[in-house]
């Protein structure tokens, strides 16, 4: 079953067009990567899906419903959650309060505080600290946990690996496996191509706001990806 479908998705920042006619399809339960260079429109794409950027209604279809005009908080209620780029934790809130705020929409589902702490045991010990006192990796775990608290059907992860040590990145991607095992569908945006391709079944490569290439990740020629990535 198709969970998310964008149809000729175009998005603007004022007069500047950041996305041109993007067609992306995400099936229920799969993990899809979106790769591309800086400024390719990856984050813009996630923001458009999450409702943070307004588009025409039919440009974003979720569970067969047009949601392009929905506001971000309505989109959360429908079951799309975002772990935003740069983590964007709330500095005045403790770790636990950040997680609780993720559950603001009170969507029912498998995830709650305890389940998130089981997934990231370190966070249980650190739960009363201000979120900004944590290490980068722990902050990223909090960000993912906060998104899970809304019990999303679709989890959007923007640059999970940004600024983190390789060993920490591996930990976080291991946890991502446990999340998808719950049946959660994931869209990953990454600049780290290898990491993204290892974790996903299919990928889309964006280039300057346009779709340059899409294919399954297995058995694919990486030189073709490089060509699509850099536009050479």
């Amino acid at each position: 079953m198709t969970l998310l479908e964008t149809q000729k998705l175009s998005a603007f920042y004022g007069d500047f067009q950041a996305l041109f006619d993007i067609d992306v399809t995400v099936e229920q339960g799969e993990t899809v990567a979106i790769i591309g260079a800086n400024g390719a429109g990856k984050t813009t794409f996630l923001r458009a899906v999450a409702g943070a950027l307004e588009t025409a209604p039919e440009m974003v279809m979720f569970e067969g419903r047009p949601i392009g005009k929905h506001t971000a908080h309505d989109v959360v209620r429908l079951g799309i959650a975002m772990a935003p780029e740069g983590r964007r934790l709330f500095p005045s809130l403790s770790v636990e309060e950040n997680l609780l705020l993720g559950g603001y929409s009170k969507r029912p589902g498998p995830w709650n505080l305890n389940r998130v702490y089981d997934l990231f045991p370190r966070l249980r010990e650190l739960r009363h600290l201000p979120a900004t006192d944590l290490s980068g990796g722990q902050q990223q775990m909090t960000t993912v946990g906060r998104a899970l608290m809304s019990n999303p059907r679709l989890l959007l992860c923007d640059e999970l690996s940004l600024g983190l040590a390789p060993v920490v990145i591996r930990d976080i991607y291991d946890c991502l496996g446990k999340i998808t095992a719950e049946g959660t569908t994931v869209v990953l945006v990454e600049q780290d191509i290898n990491r993204a391709l290892d974790a996903s079944a299919r990928f889309y490569c964006f280039q300057e706001g346009r779709l340059a290439l899409t294919a399954p990740t297995t058995g694919f020629d990486r030189t073709a990806i490089s060509a699509a990535y850099f536009g050479m």
Partner: protein, 288 residues
């Protein structure tokens, strides 16, 4: 002993200034709204109490049962219907719009009630006082007002740090865009926030109008006092606001003790000195 008396009277006077400031502090802290109409909303609350009191025969403090919900609803509607439209364009649009609201309230009150000076009558409590050794006499009413200010700040503290609503307020204050991505309906939350701010504004308005004469033009002075208390205390700090109010009150009392003409000026001078020495106030909390 006379100076101790001045100090105590001034501190208690700070209670009403802190109450003036709470609503302003909340709306700035949560939605970065500089509400120029705040003083006029305080005065409007007093007029609502006047009407309710005359209509029902209740004393002004009992009228709060009606005035508080009315002002909550007004705050909710004002934010939802008008101020939310001004949010995306930076600090200036809400400043201009609330300035317009201020003019509308003042002229509306002038139209409806005339320029007459009014007062709310609460009876014996207004003049009752407690005598202490050394000739210190403290009015019961200022103590009550100060107690209400403590209660108000304490309940806000609980709201902000013990409830889901307070958590959402803090999150939105930190980063409104991300809060929206987490499922918070910012516009609705802002409307609730201004509604809550108006609860405290209503209490401040009624308590002030029992103590002081008011007329339709009495708002801007209250706004300035509220601003000064908030800024002395540090933006976003609730207990700092109380301290800010007390510093203003003490400065005014000391000024008045020196010469009656110095009362108001002394408060402003204290404010300016603190602004020079600590531009971000005594306990700054709010970022940006």
């Amino acid at each position: 002993m006379a100076w101790l008396n001045t100090f105590i009277q001034g501190s208690l006077l700070g209670g009403i200034y802190a109450l003036f400031a709470i609503g302003l502090s909340l709306s700035f802290g949560i939605m970065r709204l500089v509400n120029i109409a705040h003083g006029d909303l305080i005065v409007l609350s007093a007029y609502v109490a006047l009407v309710v009191s005359q209509g029902t025969g209740l004393d002004p403090i009992s009228c709060l049962v009606i005035v508080v919900p009315v002002m909550f609803a007004l705050g909710y509607a004002l934010q939802r219907g008008l101020l939310n439209q001004t949010l995306s364009g930076g600090l200036l649009p809400p400043l201009l719009v609330t300035f317009g609201v201020s003019i509308i309230i003042q002229n509306g009150l002038l139209q409806g009630f005339g320029a007459y000076t009014q007062r709310l009558q609460e009876g014996a409590i207004e003049t009752a006082s407690l005598q202490f050794p050394g000739g210190i006499s403290i009015g019961v009413y200022p103590i009550v007002v100060f107690g209400v200010a403590l209660l108000a700040l304490g309940s806000l503290q609980l709201l902000f740090y013990r409830t889901g609503l307070g958590r959402a307020f803090r999150a939105v204050s930190d980063d409104a865009d991300t809060a929206e991505l987490m499922g918070v309906d910012n516009r609705k939350l802002y409307a609730v926030a201004l509604g809550i701010a108006m609860i405290f504004t209503a209490i401040a308005g009624v308590l002030f109008a029992i103590r002081t004469n008011f007329d339709p033009a009495a708002g801007p002075i209250r706004l300035i006092l509220a601003f000064e208390a908030v800024i002395i205390g540090g933006l976003g700090s609730m207990w700092g606001t109380l301290l800010g109010g007390m510093i203003l009150g003490i400065a005014q009392s000391v000024g008045a003790a020196l010469s009656p003409t110095w009362q108001i000026l002394a408060g402003h001078i204290a404010f300016l000195i603190i602004l020079i020495v600590r531009p971000s106030g005594l306990f700054p909390r709010t970022r940006d």
